[in-house]
Amino acid sequence: MSKKKCVAMLLAGGQGSRLGVLTAKIAKPAVPYGGKYRIIDFPLSNCVNSGIDTVGILTQYKPLELNDYVGSGKPWDLDRLNGGVHILPPYQGQKGGDWYKGTANAIYQNLAFIERYDPEYVLILSGDHIYKMDYSKMLKQHVDTAAACTIAVLDVSLEEASRFGIMNTNPDGSIYEFEEKPKNPKSTLASMGIYIFSWDKLKKYLTADEQNPESSNDFGKDVIPAMLAEQEKMMVYRFSDYWKDVGTVESLWDANLDLLNPKINLNLSDRNWRIYSRTQALPPQYVAESAKVENSLITVGCEVSGDLDYSVLFENVTVEEGATVEYSLIMPGAVIKKGAKVRYAIVAENAVIEENAEVGGDPAVVGHEGWGIAVIGDGLTVGKNAKVSANKMITENVGEGEAV
C-alpha cells in the first residue's frame, strides 16, 4: 500500500431507529433519497470530488443492502488499485471480537486498516446527512492551523441549537468547550458530525479511550471532551451551504422536497460536483396522455398516468390513471393504483396502494395538532378503499376498506 495523505472513515453502522419502518430492513445510509440516490452517495461523492480516494465504510446494522449497493465502489470511481472503498464489518480476532460499541470504538477496531495507508490525516464521516462539501478545503484549514482536530460546524438558529452538539469557540475559531444538546446554548455552531484528526493524535486518544472502562467509546461524548481536557488544539470549520440531517421521517421528507424548491441551493446536476449513484440501466420514464405532472421529480422506469404535484418518484414507480400523489415520496417499485390518493406520505419500496385507498392528510385540513407524514413500510399493501390517516407508520398490510 502506498502512503495516503488522508483516509476517510465513514460510520455507517447506525440503525437509524427514528426512521422506523424505513430502516426495518436496511441501514440508514442505504435509505433512498432524491429519486435515484441513497444517503451514502453524498459522503462518497464528496470524498471522490474532494480528492480522497481511500474510504473505509464501517457497517454493523443490516449491512446486506448497503454492501450490495457499495460493491466495488465503481459508481463513485472508488474501485482503485491502491486505496478505494473498503467495507469494514466487526470481526473476530484471536482473543475473540466485539460488535462496534460506539463510533470511537468502531474506528479503534480498524486502526490496522488506517495504518496500512500510513496517512497524516483521518476524516471521520457519517452516513446520515445530505450535503455537498469540499473536504479538501477543510483539510487545508486543518493543516494551516496545525490543529489536532477540526470539526465542521453549521451556524444554526438559537432555537435549533439545543438539538445539536454545540461548539463554544474563541474568536480565532478554536474550541474551548463542547456541549451536547445544551438547554441554554452559548453558541449556535452545531457539529455536523464531520471530523478531521491528525492521525497520531487520533491513534493516541482512541487507544486511551479504549483503555477507559467508563467510556461509552463515542466521539462526541468521550473522545472530543478528552482531547479538550488535554488542551489539544481543536478548531471549527465553518460550513454555510445546504446540509440536512435526515435522521427522522419528517426531515427525510423535507430534504427530498427541498430538491423541488428553487430557493434552496441543492443542485444535484452540477457537473463540477456530481453526486454519483449506483444506477440500473432502466428504460426511460413514460408520462401518459392522462397524466398531470407539476413540480415533481421523476426518474427512469416510472410510468405515470395520474396526477402528481410536489412529489418525488423513485425508480420503477407506477402511478395509475386517476390516482393523485401530492407532497409525497414514492420509493422504488411502489404502485399507486387507480383513484388512490396519497398526500404528505412516504411510500416505501415495492409497496402497493390499491384502488381508491387514501394515505396521509393535508395539515391544513386535518389540523397541525398531531399531524405528521404517513409512512407505508416496504412491500406492504394498503387495500382497496382503505384509509391511512396522517402521521401513521404502517408496518403491516392494511385490509380492504380498513381505516387506520
Binding site: 453526486i275 440501466a281 426518474t299
Partner: protein, 365 residues
C-alpha cells in the same frame, strides 16, 4: 452448453449512408435512440442476455462516439478476462483490403473468429431495434443441426415484393425470393467452420457480398434454417424509419416488449439527476430520460438526457437528443434535433407528417 460456445460479431457501420445527418459524425451503431440508448445497445444486450459474452465489433469509420459509448464494455458486463468486448477497426496491412464490403469486413475479423474457441458465431447488423430472444434462436440452431440459422420476422406490407423467405414445416429455408412478408432481420447464426469456409471462399473469389443469388445456391447445399422473432422489430433505414421507431415507444405494447424485465436492454449510464417538472409544465404522452428540466409543454415526444424545455415553450411530435435546449416561447413540431441543439426564444419550427425537420448537432437556431 458452455457459454463460450457462442461468440458474436456486430457490424457497426451498416447502411450508415441511409441515415443522412444522423450518421454524419457517427456510425449506425452509435445513433442515439429511445431517449437514453444508442442502437448498439440492442445487439449487445440481446447477446449477453443469451449468455454470449464474447463479442467483436466490426468498425470501419466514424467510430469515436461508438468507442466513447461502449468503453471497456462494462455497462453490458462485457469487461471480461475470458471473452468480453473486442473492437476491430480496419487492420491495414499490404494484403488486407479496407472494409468496403460485407465480406472484407468479415475477412478482417477472421482472426477473431479463428481464435474465439466458439462453435457458433452470431453475426448481427447494428440498426435493428428489437429485443430478440437469441438464446432460443441459438437453441433452435443447435437442435436442428443447422449450418446457418437466419433470424426473420414478419413485415406486413412487404408481401408483394419478392424478397420473402419460405420456410418448410421443419423450419428449413426453401426459398429466398418468395412473395410473402417473412423478411430477414440482419441476424444470423453460423457454425463457425461454415462461416470460416464461406468467408475465405468469397474473399478468394473477390466477392464483395453474399448476394441473394449466392444464398439461393447456399440453401440447396447447406442446412439453412429460419427462426422467427415474434416481438417488435424496427429496421433503421433512413430518417423516416428512425422517427417512426422512436414514436413507436409511446405505445405501451412496444415499450413493454422492447424493454421486458427478463431481458433488459442495457446502456451506458450517466449520473444525471432525475427529470424535474416545473410548476407550469404540461406533459402528455412522452418518453423521457433523466436529467431533463421541463417547464413548458411537451406532447407526443421523446426526450433524451438533459433536454431543457423552458417556460412557454411547446414541443410536439418531436425527438430531442441529449442536451437539446428549447428556449422560452419557442414552438416546435415534427422536429428531430441532434445533440446539444438550441432552439432560440420564440422560434417557430414546424414540420408535418410528411416531413420532419432535422436540426444538426450543436446547431443553434
Amino acid at each position: 452448453m458452455r457459454t463460450s460456445a457462442v461468440a458474436g460479431i456486430v457490424f457497426t457501420n451498416v447502411h450508415d449512408e441511409t441515415m443522412e445527418q444522423l450518421t454524419e459524425f457517427r456510425s449506425m451503431a452509435a445513433v442515439p435512440f429511445g431517449a437514453r440508448y444508442r442502437l448498439i445497445d440492442f445487439p449487445l444486450s440481446n447477446l449477453i442476455n443469451a449468455g454470449v459474452y464474447n463479442v467483436g465489433l466490426i468498425i470501419k469509420e466514424k467510430y469515436r462516439s461508438l468507442m466513447d459509448h461502449v468503453g471497456s464494455g462494462i455497462y453490458w458486463d462485457l469487461d471480461r478476462k475470458n471473452g468480453g468486448l473486442h473492437l476491430m477497426p480496419p487492420y491495414n496491412t499490404r494484403s488486407a483490403r479496407r472494409y468496403n464490403s460485407y465480406i472484407e469486413a468479415l475477412y478482417g475479423a477472421i482472426d477473431f473468429v479463428e481464435r474465439c474457441n466458439a462453435e457458433y458465431i452470431v453475426t448481427y447488423s447494428a440498426g435493428i431495434v428489437a429485443n430478440v430472444n437469441l438464446a432460443k434462436a441459438i437453441e433452435s440452431h443447435t437442435k436442428s443441426d443447422a449450418d446457418i440459422t437466419v433470424v426473420c420476422h414478419r413485415r406486413p406490407g412487404l408481401a408483394d415484393r419478392s424478397i420473402g423467405l419460405n420456410i418448410d414445416a421443419d423450419g428449413r429455408v426453401t426459398d429466398v425470393f418468395a412473395e410473402n412478408d417473412l423478411s430477414t432481420l440482419g441476424i444470423m447464426i453460423f457454425k463457425r467452420e461454415v462461416l470460416l469456409r464461406l468467408v475465405r471462399q468469397a474473399y478468394q473469389n473477390d466477392a464483395t457480398d453474399i448476394s441473394p443469388k449466392d444464398v439461393a445456391a447456399m440453401i440447396k447445399k447447406l442446412r439453412v434454417f429460419g427462426f422467427c422473432h415474434e416481438g417488435y422489430a424496427a429496421i433503421m433505414h433512413g430518417k423516416e424509419s428512425f422517427y417512426e421507431a422512436n414514436m413507436d415507444l409511446l405505445d405501451a405494447n412496444v415499450r413493454h416488449d422492447l424493454f421486458c424485465k427478463d431481458r433488459p436492454i442495457l446502456t451506458k449510464t450517466r449520473d444525471d439527476m432525475p427529470t424535474r417538472f416545473g410548476t407550469e409544465s404540461v406533459v402528455k404522452n412522452a418518453f423521457i430520460a433523466d436529467g431533463c428540466v421541463i417547464e413548458g409543454t411537451v406532447r407526443n415526444s421523446v426526450l433524451f438526457r438533459g433536454v431543457k424545455v423552458a417556460k412557454g415553450a411547446v414541443v410536439e411530435n418531436s425527438i430531442l437528443m441529449q442536451g437539446t435546449e428549447v428556449k422560452a416561447q419557442a414552438e416546435i413540431d415534427h422536429v428531430v434535433s441532434d445533440k446539444n441543439a438550441v432552439i432560440g426564444e420564440k422560434m417557430v419550427l414546424k414540420g408535418n407528417d410528411q416531413k420532419t425537420l432535422m436540426i444538426g448537432k450543436k446547431q443553434t437556431l
